[in-house]
């Protein structure tokens, strides 16, 4: 994975480490990052040596503070933009990865940042993490799945409270509404994420992958046995 500008991709034993790497601009998501993320996720998808992936943000201030708005309004016509969205469906790829993905979240987790976090299977936040979905205040709606992934994680009530108001919530409130699985001190974030990843990586990978599939695909299906 040479020549990447926005992402660092490393393999550490059976773990894949994806680091969003635009720390000077709070790791905001741009077209380049989309393309690089697509390449990285495609590589992980077909790599049976990767048991678990971790996604995190470089620098002290943010996991990812949203989308790079400087690229907005220069985009192609909505018809063509829609075509491109599904032609290289980075979010579909992310959500359907066979391996578990752990999000290690610190600092600003806004907009696309929350959306990337929600593509993960397990989310660990540091105490300084702040979450928010500012899209509606800017005249549009999220487009990387937040209107679907957030309600499925926290229910429609909390989801609309975040989406319609754009209000920010801290790590503890995010934990209470189950937006994240656990909160750890800032200094422990990477260690905790890797510890958890190592633990899962140590299990039978057939079972791990089937388990992930049973849960994620099962949520789209009726349970079937009712009174």
């Amino acid at each position: 994975m040479e020549g990447f500008e926005t992402i660092i991709f490393e393999k550490k034993g059976q773990l894949a480490l994806i680091t969003l790497n635009r720390p000077r601009v709070l790791n905001i998501y741009n077209v380049r990052m989309r393309d690089e993320l697509y390449e990285v996720l495609s590589a992980i998808e077909s790599d049976s040596d990767v048991h678990v992936a971790i996604i995190r943000g470089a620098g002290e201030k943010a996991f990812c503070a949203g989308a790079d708005l400087s690229e907005f309004l220069s985009a192609p016509a909505p018809t063509f933009a829609r075509h491109v969205r599904w032609h290289r469906d980075v979010w579909g790829l992310f959500l359907n990865l066979p391996q578990p993905v752990i999000g290690a979240l610190h600092g600003y987790v806004f907009g696309s940042g929350i959306e990337m976090a929600m593509c993960c299977d397990i989310r660990i936040a540091s105490e300084d993490a702040v979450f928010g979905l500012p899209e509606v205040a800017l005249g549009f709606i999220p487009a990387a799945g937040a209107t679907q992934t957030v309600p499925r994680a926290v229910g429609p009530g909390h989801a609309l409270d975040l989406l319609l108001t754009g209000r920010r919530v801290g790590a503890q409130e995010a934990l209470a509404m189950r937006l994240v699985n656990r909160v750890v001190p800032r200094n422990d974030l990477q260690v905790e994420a890797e510890k958890l990843a190592e633990k899962i990586a140590g299990y039978d990978q057939g079972a791990v992958r089937k388990l992930k599939q049973a849960v994620s695909r099962g949520l789209d299906l009726p349970v079937g046995s009712h009174p």
């Binding site: 309004l73 909505p78 933009a81 509606v136 005249g139 709606i141 499925r152 009530g157 409270d161 994620s216």
Partner: protein
């Protein structure tokens, strides 16, 4: 008739005040007419629903028995703008079901919640069997409906039935403030956001993502999106027009 439900609209915010307790079919008819009217009025960008007096909205089953075949939640759930419930007091039975049809619930600290229908040999008849499990999870929902248990506002907050609890005297003001703020936002983005969430939850994730994408790109055609992004770049407050 009009005194059963009061409607006031100011700068894009509709305030619906229920003035009959317990609610009856007349209130339901009037509420349905109001919601219909609001859905046709694209100047309305947000709504607040509140009760008057000590209760938000009371228990119709006790008052009207099994004959009470009217719905408050259906017209409210059909509103395409965001709806905030200012739960000024107890929300029992159909009153709680009405709150469940709103998008955001703000409750008074002294408010109580319950679905007591089971005690009268009935089940909730205005949407709670469907909306409550989707909101707080199946386990807590079925427990509340099978026991008729009364819970406090703090417990409602803990289980995610309401999103915030404030002193009773502040409930309406907090809701109005939130409503006014929403009324200043891009109205099509608010409506599409709500549509994507609710319709998406009835579909598979992949289908929901398609819906979100379609609505997102449809918003590319609005002036408000251009204004939103421009104002961010120019570091000023956006002026949305609902276009």
């Amino acid at each position: 008739m009009n005194s059963i439900v009061k409607l006031e609209c100011d700068r894009g915010l509709a305030v619906i005040r229920l003035e009959q307790d317990p609610p009856g079919p007349g209130l339901a008819d009037r509420l349905a007419a109001i919601c219909d009217e609001l859905n046709y009025n694209t100047d309305i960008r947000a709504a607040v629903i509140t009760g008057s007096g000590p209760v938000f909205c009371g228990d119709a089953a006790t008052a009207h028995g099994a004959q009470a075949a009217f719905s408050l939640s259906t017209p409210v759930a059909s509103l395409n703008c965001p709806v905030i419930a200012a739960i000024n007091g107890d929300a029992i039975g159909i009153g709680l079901e009405l709150a469940l049809a709103c998008d955001i619930r703000i409750a008074a600290g002294m408010a109580h919640f319950s679905l007591p229908e089971i005690e009268g040999g009935l089940i909730p008849f205005d949407g709670a069997t469907q909306r409550l499990p989707r909101l707080v999870g199946r386990a807590r929902a079925i427990e509340l409906m099978l026991t008729g248990e009364v819970i406090t506002a703090d417990e409602a907050l803990r289980i995610g039935l309401v999103s915030r609890v404030v002193p009773a005297e502040d409930v309406l003001n907090v809701a109005l403030e939130m409503g006014r703020e929403m009324a200043g936002k891009a109205s099509w983005a608010l409506r599409y956001c709500k549509e994507a969430v609710y319709k998406g939850l009835d579909r598979t994730l992949a289908q929901g993502l398609q819906l979100e994408g379609d609505l997102y790109f449809l918003l590319h055609t609005t002036e408000d999106r251009v204004e939103g992004v421009k104002s961010f770049k120019e570091k000023r407050k956006p002026e949305f027009k609902g276009k």
